[in-house]
């Protein structure tokens, strides 16, 4: 685990107000930055991380970009306190920002640390190509590695690919370019990339979704709390996605290159609920997996049609109008925060929940026969007062089946 000093360059231009990343691009970036910070300090406690903004707008229409927000440090508090106060302003100035990052790295305290720059770019790139290439060569000469995360922007992809090729040279693979399309989950996407995962696998373990760290809760210290937080975060996300799915019904079912099956099933839920007459047509358009998931949903609905405690049911939100669903959403979140254990038991009955939660656990293949069979078992049983006992049975069944298949 080499010693590394990393400067994270955050794009805080006006393009970060865009909501195509939930909730805004800026917040997604903040989550991603915290994820990277934890990964770096976890892999070696002596690593240092600093923070820098790439754009700044001064009132006299001069752009003073590349402001170092936090010097290289291993103290999480210093970085996080500034991270959440970053203003959104101005236009991106990539070259200037990188030069300032390079300078900050030159004056690092850990002289033996390998310097690294991680850049987030979410706005269009305007740069002189000569200067761009010269910058790449200079970084290469000084052995500064760079990782570029381009999110929400496709226009500058080729330029960055060229930049990375120049810096990497013929045989090096130290520098990476990650492109994240709009609508994806930024922290979860980068968790699987070489930015977090170093070669010996010492990055974050696979089971931990980015959202767990976004709460500052280490899953090792308090797994139950982390689990509860993750489940309620999942709920929120699904509710939001269902609302979005209601807005763009037909398109979502077909073009979802990077979202997982669970979220596309959410949109199918919405389709099923709002356009019951068009069921046949929608069903044939779905892939086989989605059809199976749809079948699960439908059988689940029949089983729990009269169940009043089941607050996660999508029918409730879909049936009501927009404002009413908002009220229900807030009441749901209130209920969630108050009755964690209750919603645990109930939510474990919900197949999508089980599916989502199982997906995050290591060693479980959600689409495998055993897991799918277990999930179907869940719906066939009535969700009533015995729900908790049956949940235990189900869980033990699921784990038994997992062990069998292993």
């Amino acid at each position: 685990m080499p010693l590394e000093s990393t400067i994270i360059c955050v794009d805080n231009s006006d393009f970060m107000r865009d909501g195509d990343f939930i909730p805004t691009r800026m917040q997604a970036q903040q989550d991603a930055v915290s994820l990277i910070f934890h990964a770096k300090t976890r892999s070696n406690p002596e690593n240092n991380v600093g923070l820098l903004t790439l754009s700044e707008h001064n009132q006299y229409y001069c752009y003073f970009s590349g402001r170092v927000v936090t010097q290289l440090t291993s103290d999480v508090g210093k970085v996080f306190s500034k991270l959440h106060l970053l203003p959104i302003e101005g236009k991106l100035d990539f070259c200037k920002g990188i030069k300032v990052a390079n300078l900050a790295l030159k004056h690092r305290q850990g002289k033996n640390h390998r310097p690294r720059i991680v850049v987030f770019v979410g706005s269009p790139l305007e740069v002189d190509p000569n200067e761009f290439t010269k910058l790449a060569k200079r970084l290469k000469k000084e052995k500064v590695s760079i990782d570029i995360v381009v999110f929400g922007e496709e226009s500058s992809r080729e330029k960055f690919e060229e930049f990375i090729t120049v810096i990497n040279g013929k045989e090096n693979t130290n520098c990476h370019l990650i492109c994240v399309p709009s609508g994806a989950n930024l922290p979860d996407t980068i968790i699987n990339t070489p930015i977090i995962q170093s070669e010996d696998g010492s990055g974050l373990p696979n089971g931990y979704a980015a959202s767990a760290f976004a709460f500052g809760v280490n899953p090792e210290d308090d797994p139950e709390l982390a689990m509860a937080l993750r489940i309620s975060m999942e709920e929120q996300r699904r509710v939001q996605e269902a609302e979005i799915g209601r807005g763009t019904v037909g398109e979502e079912a077909q073009l979802n290159p990077s979202t997982n099956i669970a979220s596309s099933v959410q949109q199918i839920d919405a389709t099923v609920n709002t356009a019951t007459g068009n069921n046949d047509m929608d069903v044939t358009q779905l892939t086989e997996d989605e059809q199976i998931a749809l079948a699960i949903e439908m059988s689940m609905k029949q089983a729990a049609s009269g169940h009043t405690n089941d607050v996660e049911m999508k029918e409730e939100t879909a049936d009501s109008a927009g404002t009413l669903s908002n009220i229900q959403q807030t009441s749901k979140t209130n209920e969630n925060t108050q009755q964690n254990t209750d919603s645990f038991a109930v939510s474990l009955n919900d197949p999508q929940f089980l599916r989502d939660v199982l997906r995050d656990l290591p060693g479980v293949d959600v689409d495998s026969e055993a897991v799918r069979a277990a999930l179907e078992q869940v719906h066939q049983q009535q969700p009533n007062k015995d729900a908790e006992d049956k949940d235990d049975n189900d869980k033990s069944n699921v784990t038994k089946k997992k062990k069998d298949e292993k």
Partner: protein, 202 residues
């Protein structure tokens, strides 16, 4: 370097082997070569005197003829001589600039005043040893070698760099003088720049 036996003898000249062994005191893990074409090739040219003629290990510069070596040692050394083996052609470096104890030196500050500058000439077999001034190099913990140019080629190639000198001993980390006080009084310590920098204890 010539020994006194007749030309057809077999024995190896032992006199130099012992002297050119400062390479054993180099902190190889933290040794860096800047602008090398192949990552890690810069470490391999610091080796034993016996292996100086091995042509398989070479460092080549990338795109321009500059090369910069940043060499930390496992202690303090005194450097008295330098030997550089290159090609018998234009890729041989023609100048070397040396600095001692400046670990942050990079290409920008290498344009400035050097501690010593030596003009090199073709040496494909390691027969030349250049004298290093004792002025700056009598107690060195970090050595920087900068080769700014060569005899005309686009890239510079070096096969071997030898350092001659003595090892002076390990360097303990810097806390040495400690005063123990039962009750610290600020007036006992005259400090001009109070809380000047931001130093973290790690």
């Amino acid at each position: 370097m010539q020994h006194s036996c007749s030309r057809s003898c077999q024995h190896v000249d032992e006199t130099n082997v012992g002297l050119w062994n400062l390479h054993t005191k180099i902190d190889k893990y933290n040794l860096q070569c800047y602008n090398e074409k192949h990552d890690g090739s810069g470490k391999e040219i610091f080796r034993a005197w016996d292996e100086r003629l091995d042509r398989s290990k070479v460092v080549e510069s990338d795109d321009d003829p500059e090369l910069l070596f940043s060499i930390p040692f496992n202690g303090a050394v005194k450097i008295t001589g330098l030997c550089v083996i290159g090609e018998n052609g234009p890729s041989h470096p023609n100048t070397v600039k040396l600095w001692s104890n400046l670990p942050e030196l990079r290409f920008e500050n290498a344009r400035g005043k050097e501690h010593q500058e030596i003009s090199l000439t073709y040496d494909p077999s390691g027969t030349l040893a250049y004298q290093v001034n004792p002025a700056h190099f009598s107690r060195v913990t970090h050595l920087s070698l900068y080769f700014p140019s060569n005899f005309g080629d686009e890239t510079t190639r070096i096969y071997y760099i030898g350092l001659r000198g003595e090892f002076l001993g390990e360097v303990k980390s810097k806390i040495v003088i400690a005063t123990y006080e039962s009750k610290p009084q600020l007036k006992d310590h005259k400090v001009d720049d109070f809380l000047k920098g931001n130093y973290e204890i790690q």
